[in-house]
Amino acid sequence: MTSVKKLINDPQNVVAESLEGFAAAHADVVAVHTDPPFVTRAGGTTAGKVGLVSGGGSGHEPLHAGFVGVGMLDAAVPGAVFTSPTPDQIAPALQAADGGKGVLAIVKNYTGDVLNFETAAELADAEGVTVRSVVVNDDVAVEDSLYTAGRRGVAGTVAVEKIAGAAAERGDDLDAVVAVAEKVIANVRSMGVALTACTVPHAGKPSFDLPEDEIEIGIGIHGEPGRRRIPLAGADEITEMLLTPVADDLGLTGGEKVLLFVNGMGGTPASELYVVYRRARALLAERGVEVIRSLVGNYVTSLEMQGASVTVLRLDDELTALWDAPVHTTALRW
């Protein structure tokens, strides 16, 4: 077995052992099921509430399990590292999240995630659970087109889960929660940069080879190379390369109120994220866009990758109130 420089034991067991630690550390917030593995709220399903489920490959922590708890998700389904979970994991999570009012599945737009959730929804449906899905596709690095796999779902997923979670928590029915989630999806865009690659435990070597003086612009969250490779530049310059396409795609021309979210890819110190935030905020101000909510930190990661993404969510009063609503998960709490 290739040995990789990580705090792990057998690469095959990373996800299971990590979940075991997560369960032990946060028994007040979450319950971790094994065989198949999925995570639910400690208190279980809230009867009469729309259930919220998300999931995807592991290696993006705290996404998604870190967002299970009051005001956000009811269940999360972790796959192998960077690999969508399987339908027989997802289906029981959908069932567990059902409080009798149906379940919303929040799916990031990857072929694997979409297909596995699709199958799982059929299985859960057969057990009498009403499942609706929304597909998050906030990454403007990828061209959206009817003829391609479309844009990826990246850091914007946090906003979808938080805001739809708040809508479910206040008692919205399934249609209404779907509508809120779709509204967030329609108004959130992201773009990311990698300074270093990451190493998938079982792969044993970096996901791409990047010279010391080059960076990847337009990366996703699976350690894949980006859209283009450019020479290392200053943070201000890089931030502009991320923020501009995001703001352009959202059509921000001035007068808007937004959430500005600077996300770390896992190995970036907080200090650098704030340097990026500072510049992104200044660029928005130059456009006449007002940042009224902020989030800065490592929330949607690619293992230990160094890099960051910039996410902007256009807010209205409803979305702002839902963003502000109480949340109690292991990774987001207020």
């Binding site: 192998a80 399987t86 297909l115 596995n116 996901s207 350690g223 859209r227």
Partner: protein
Amino acid sequence: MTLDVAWAVDWVRRSADAVAEHREELIELDRQIGDGDHGENLNRGFTAVVAKLDALEEPPGEIGDVLKLVATTLMSTVGGAAGPLYGTAFLRAAKATAVPELDTKGVVALLEAALEGIVVRGKARTGEKTMVDAWTPASEAAAAASDAGASAAEALEAAAQAAADGAQATIPLVATKGRASYLGERSAGHLDPGARSTELILQAAAQAAA
């Protein structure tokens, strides 16, 4: 010469061996234009398939039973894009082979059903740099061979060869489906991992029949 259940079991075991042997190669291909898990995922899946085969009390009666076991096991252990795609392929193939023996027409039916399953699920056409680019020529080559009077084994041999050529032909393509599509132009110049694993699996089928 027809193919029986023993052939199907042998195919599956040979597929598992091939995937295990080429695990790192598939990881490396996927690392270049994807997320580097294809070899790991398929290896996990086929290892589980073999374990299930080993645990069977009595051998299945029909070829379709073997393929259904493969389908459900891959579906529940592989994950990613390849899990549902191969899962559906084998599920459709199983439905098309609810018989104890396959002749050359049966082989064609199996391959066509598998391809149809992949296309229904993944909605990719040829030329999008996916496993469809290996399955499509494979299915066509088997049909042509069968029409020309080839045996089941010969049809599989033709399919395997066509899959290999199809896989090679993905190299210059720019991906428009799957994870490699995120790379845009940068995806050109690389072999699609799913096309390569298709080649390995169809090669195993031909070898089991030889």
